[in-house]
Amino acid sequence: MESKNPGSKKSRPVYLDLRRIRLPVTGLVSILHRISGVLLFASLPFVVYLFDLSLRSQQGFVQAAALLHHGFVKLWAFLLLWALLHHLVAGIRYLLIDFDIGVALPVARKSARVSIVGALVLAVLLGAILL
């Protein structure tokens, strides 16, 4: 994969080699957007299971609520809350960029930092209230 002429068509990578990527903060938002999205996708069956359980019966509702406050599940729920908030905040940033808002690099860098920190802060605040 070593290329002598990085601009030429032949040496362009055909897929993304994760070990070769060095990230600026805008790239960090991007990869966190992906990671949070995959995390949300992978957790979907369990979320739907909890949704099912909570609606099925009175005991089911109590079970689902108890499950959410149980050690590892609570940690997972917090991670998922962060993933949702990061995906939402970074997603809104991308929508704005689609409309040509905040495209200039200094602004894009600032909004990237705000997205990462903002999602974390929101996750901690909401997590403290909800979990």
């Binding site: 999205g37 949300l40 069956p45 949704f51 019966s57 109590v62 929508l95």
Partner: protein, 112 residues
């Protein structure tokens, strides 16, 4: 509409579903916190309300489309071998469809 979500169409669906889900999630989270839905009866009555059930069903449909375009992009970017890529796409597509049907059934049962 074609089943193949590619190029501009995929890009557009990704954003339309994102906007709907963002608005829905903020509204839904607000409603759940404001209405004190901390018991089964109130929760079921809320979800079973025709308008809420419809909005929820639409949310899961949007989620399926959004997740399909997103996860498909991720797989195509990182998974190179054809058969592995193809199998993963089939598994993801099947899992998403099954999850959607499951969620729609749950919502429908809550309206009864």
């Amino acid at each position: 509409m074609s089943w193949r979500a590619e190029g501009f169409r995929a890009w557009l669906w990704q954003r339309l579903t994102a906007v709907y889900m963002a608005l829905f999630i903020v509204w839904f989270a607000g409603a759940v916190m404001m209405k004190h839905l901390g018991n089964h009866d109130a929760w079921r009555e809320f979800v079973g309300d025709g308008r809420v059930a419809t909005a929820l069903a639409l949310f899961f449909a949007a989620l399926l489309l959004h997740a399909w375009v997103g996860v498909r992009d991720v797989i195509i970017d990182y998974v190179r071998p054809f058969y592995l890529r193809f199998s993963l796409l089939m598994v993801v597509g099947g899992a998403l469809l099954a999850t959607l049907l499951w969620a729609l059934r749950i919502i429908f049962m809550a309206t009864l």
